[in-house]
């Protein structure tokens, strides 16, 4: 009889030891943060993840050589998570869409929009439709009325070209979301919007024009199944936003050096061209916070900015 409690107590001691284990084991992990902290970049996950890893892997290598500091790319699962990581300071600079860039700057005092691609000054969304719908391409915005009674998907909730601007133009055309058949879907990314409309899962979708063109060029879209029905008017979209405290961390003039590094990307240099091609751009140019005032106004109108 006396054996049992003893045995039980031994097991209890072991169980308690198991519980007590975390703090001592944690100590070696804590100082792992090296004094020379890397420059951390991230991007909204608007395309296929492996494509993004390839793109930002190459970009990190390039920036590391140009800036002379360790550069790390942090993949993040959703748009809002990038904004949040930028806000907490885990990410120093991020590639945002128009809307997420505004959201990020509103949450970090002094954050600056510094760079954009040549195409971002006049960015557009495309509305695509499965050919089985019989919807014909149109020129005037009023043609969006053809979406009445159709199934429709956006991209991510926080996407500028896959949600905000399409919803804005639909509203301008007098089309309310309740005119669609069923609730609108949120596919999550531009690539998935193409695939869902191509498969007929949704009849119509809206996405980023640049991604569409790139997939067409790459022969990844079956154009006998899915076509563009309308291109939106142009607006400002993607841009790099940098935290104000990077100059304290990496030295005065660091932001200027980032700008120079990006603007030095030259389409005639094969190594540079690879990066520019992955971005779908000819070159990077400067931008400023004021360029996104319209996006902010529309964001407030749709309710994505409070």
């Amino acid at each position: 009889m006396s054996v049992k409690p003893k045995l039980a107590l031994v097991s209890l001691a072991l169980a308690l030891a198991a519980c007590a284990a975390p703090p001592p084991a944690a100590q070696p992990a804590a100082p792992a943060q090296s004094p020379a902290r890397p420059f951390v970049i991230s991007a909204i996950p608007d395309q296929d993840p492996e494509r993004l890893n390839r793109l930002y892997g190459k970009l990190s290598d390039y920036l590391k050589a140009e800036l002379g500091v360790e550069v790390v790319y942090r993949p993040v699962t959703d748009y809002a998570a990038v904004v949040n990581a930028f806000r907490t300071g885990d990410v120093d600079m991020a590639w945002f869409g128009g809307l997420t860039g505004v959201q990020a700057r509103l949450q970090v005092d002094g954050a600056q929009a510094i760079l954009q691609r040549d195409i971002d000054e006049k960015f557009r969304s495309v509305f695509i439709a499965n050919v089985s719908t019989g919807i014909q391409p149109f020129e005037d915005i009023s043609g969006l009325q053809a979406l009445k009674g159709r199934t429709f998907t956006f991209g991510s909730e926080s996407s500028t070209s896959g949600r905000l601007m399409p919803q804005f133009f639909m509203r301008q055309a007098g089309l309310s979301l309740s005119d669609l058949r069923g609730e609108p879907g949120f596919s999550g990314s531009h690539d998935k919007t193409i695939k869902l409309v191509e498969a007929g899962s949704y009849e119509v979708g809206a996405l980023n024009e640049q991604v569409w063109e790139a997939r067409i060029k790459g022969g990844e879209v079956d154009t006998s199944k899915v076509i563009v029905i309308w291109r939106t008017p142009p607006y400002y979209d993607y841009h790099w936003v940098v935290r104000p405290d990077v100059e304290q961390k990496f030295g005065a003039g660091f932001i200027e050096r980032i700008k120079r590094a990006f603007m030095a990307l030259d389409a005639t240099n094969p190594a540079h061209k690879e990066i520019l091609d992955l971005f779908g751009a000819q070159k990077f140019i400067e931008t400023k916070n004021e360029n996104y005032a319209d996006i902010e106004a529309i964001g407030r109108e749709i309710g994505k900015i409070k």
Binding site: A26, A80, G200
Partner: protein, 564 residues
């Protein structure tokens, strides 16, 4: 029974002996209300509305199932799968370790018996430390792990610490509640004897109560490990990494071959954990996974370690292994504990709290929240009605039997394992291929996932039922089907229904996570608010969620009472 059997004609049973009648007598009102609630919920989630099925998506579903024949098996992807499996397992282990620390401390402090031995005579009046301890544990329990994760990531930033805390805190609060119940239900004779012979309270508890409660405590801990694996997977889906994250990525890129490989890994991980946990409980002599409906004062069966002398060595080895696994998992994940106390964390916490208050309680908002709360409630009811019905039906083939063929057991058990191994948000995304966004695909996803859990719980209740009445009927000449309907089924129904109501409480919390992928209810609103950084709106939605959780917990407790 329309045709009276020979046995009955020969020996008419008095009416009071009918197991069905006595079952119904206590629970007639609950049964009626439940049926009404299910009918209301079905209407509310739009089961009877048009425009539910998006027929365009069937091609994708076909592609998905066709891909099962050619899972992605390249060495690089297999390595990724293995690494992801380790990450998910490591999160589960670290989260569980933290929850045990919280659970032991909180469990002791919120148990009656602790205060009983320390303050005599014991009076449970409001304001007593006991009530404070109980109350303090209610809040963390009401918040789903995923919500903990989303808030912690805003304070602590991107770090493995977030997932460990997100898992450990709510699990700790649940464990504390169950531990306190186990401690209170453990026979007190030895404790009393020690106290009466003058032992100090601490010693009396350590030597008189803990050893007898230990098998139940350990058994519950291993049950929590199964839950922790599922939870770590779901946390992965929202960005913590591991299997859940990889499944989501593959699904978002529509690479189904990869998905099947990852699902196989999930099923293996869950299956091994479930098997291990069952073995441990067998050794401990506590076969039930969890006891949800003990009547007050009914003391938990004291598990016996007597016949376990050889296997308790195995148990010790297992515990030794557990002690090793926790530090290994920590080294693997490298959480930065410094973040807990860093000034940045304090600043971000202060900033977030300031933004969240005051909550947005405008008239519009309240009307919207009420409507969505009802929708969420309906989602959880529809989910549990489906999971419950199928669970009751599948539990019998899924119960281990002494005689008869073995294949129905393996087939149903395997099927249930797959259903619960795949996290609910992934089920929701699959349903969204062929259904329009809304509460129904979310409800179906929750139904499928919970069926996997419930089916097994009920099957175990069936296995543990007293076999004697069934045998008596069979020996008296009743055909097997009659014996089943007049003994096994009515005897397992109260416990099964108790499980269904208990799972409903959890399901109501889980509605949030299917909402994140666009499947309706308060979770859908929460996603929209999170992506709009609408913190005042967010805190209003959280209040609605607390209210909902509270109402569901209360209804479930009331409904379970007549089933005891």
């Amino acid at each position: 029974m329309s045709v009276p059997s020979a046995a009955q004609r020969a020996l008419p049973l008095p009416e009071a002996f009918s197991p069905w009648r006595s079952l119904l007598r206590g629970a007639r009102l609950v049964a009626l209300l439940t049926l009404l609630a299910v009918a209301w919920a079905a209407t509310q989630t739009g089961v009877f509305r048009g425009d539910l099925i998006n027929a365009g998506g069937w091609a994708l579903v076909q592609q998905f199932f066709a891909a099962a024949l050619r899972p992605e098996l390249s060495p690089a992807f297999l390595r990724l799968t293995l690494e992801s499996t380790l990450v998910t397992f490591a999160y589960a282990v670290c989260g569980l370790a933290l929850s045990l620390v919280i659970g032991l401390a909180g469990g002791v402090l919120s148990s009656e018996v602790w205060w009983l031995v320390h303050q005599r005579p014991f009076v449970a009046r409001p304001g007593s430390p006991w009530l404070i301890a109980r109350g303090a544990l209610a809040l963390p329990r009401a918040i789903h792990e995923v919500l903990w994760g989303l808030f912690l990531v805003r304070i602590l930033g991107l770090d493995p610490l977030v997932a460990i805390l997100a898992l450990g805190i709510p699990f700790g609060a649940i464990t504390a509640k169950v531990f306190s119940e186990i401690l209170d239900e453990t026979p007190r004779d030895a404790l009393r004897a020690l106290l009466n012979s003058g032992a100090p309270p601490g010693h009396a508890l350590l030597y008189g109560l803990l050893p007898r409660a230990l098998p139940n405590l350990l058994s519950y801990t291993f049950y929590r490990l199964e839950c922790a694996i599922r939870s770590a997977t779901v946390l992965g889906v929202i960005g913590a990494g591991g299997l859940g994250y990889q499944v989501l990525l593959s699904l978002q890129s529509l690479r189904y071959g990869e998905m099947w490989t990852l699902i196989a890994a999930l099923v293996l991980l869950s299956g091994i954990t479930d098997w291990l946990s069952a073995r441990v409980r067998q050794v401990l002599g506590a076969p039930a996974r969890l006891e949800v409906n003990l009547a007050p004062g009914c003391e938990a069966q004291a598990a016996q370690l007597t016949r376990a002398t050889p296997s308790s060595r195995g148990l010790l080895a297992l515990l030794g292994l557990a002690v090793l696994v926790v530090p290994l998992a920590l080294v693997y994940l490298q959480p930065d504990f410094g973040r807990l106390v860093s000034p940045r964390t304090q600043a971000l916490l202060g900033q977030m709290l300031a933004e969240m208050f005051p909550p947005d309680l405008s008239g519009d908002q309240i009307a919207r929240l009420l409507q969505l709360s009802l929708q969420t409630l309906a989602m959880s009811i529809v989910a549990m009605a489906i999971a419950g019905l199928f669970g009751l039906a599948l539990a019998h083939p899924a119960a281990r039997r002494e005689r008869g063929p073995r294949w129905p057991y393996w087939l149903t058990r395997g099927g249930l394992l797959v259903l619960r191994a795949v996290p609910a948000p992934v089920w929701a995304l699959l349903f969204l291929f062929v259904m329009f966004p809304g509460p129904l695909p979310g409800a179906l996803a929750l139904a499928v996932h919970n069926l996997g859990i419930l089916g097994r719980l009920i099957a175990e209740a069936v296995e543990n039922v007293d076999q004697r009445p069934t045998r008596a009927l069979q020996h008296a000449g009743a055909p097997p089907l009659h014996a089943f309907f007049y003994s096994t089924l009515p005897m397992t129904i109260p416990q099964s229904l108790a499980y269904i109501f208990y799972r409903w409480e959890i399901c109501a919390r889980e509605t949030v996570i299917v909402g994140f992928v666009g499947a309706g209810g308060l979770g859908r609103l929460l996603t929209e608010q999170l992506s709009s950084f609408d913190y005042p709106g967010l805190s209003a939605t959280l209040i609605a969620l607390f209210g909902l959780t509270f109402v569901v917990d209360m209804l479930s407790t009331v409904a379970r009472r007549p089933l005891r």
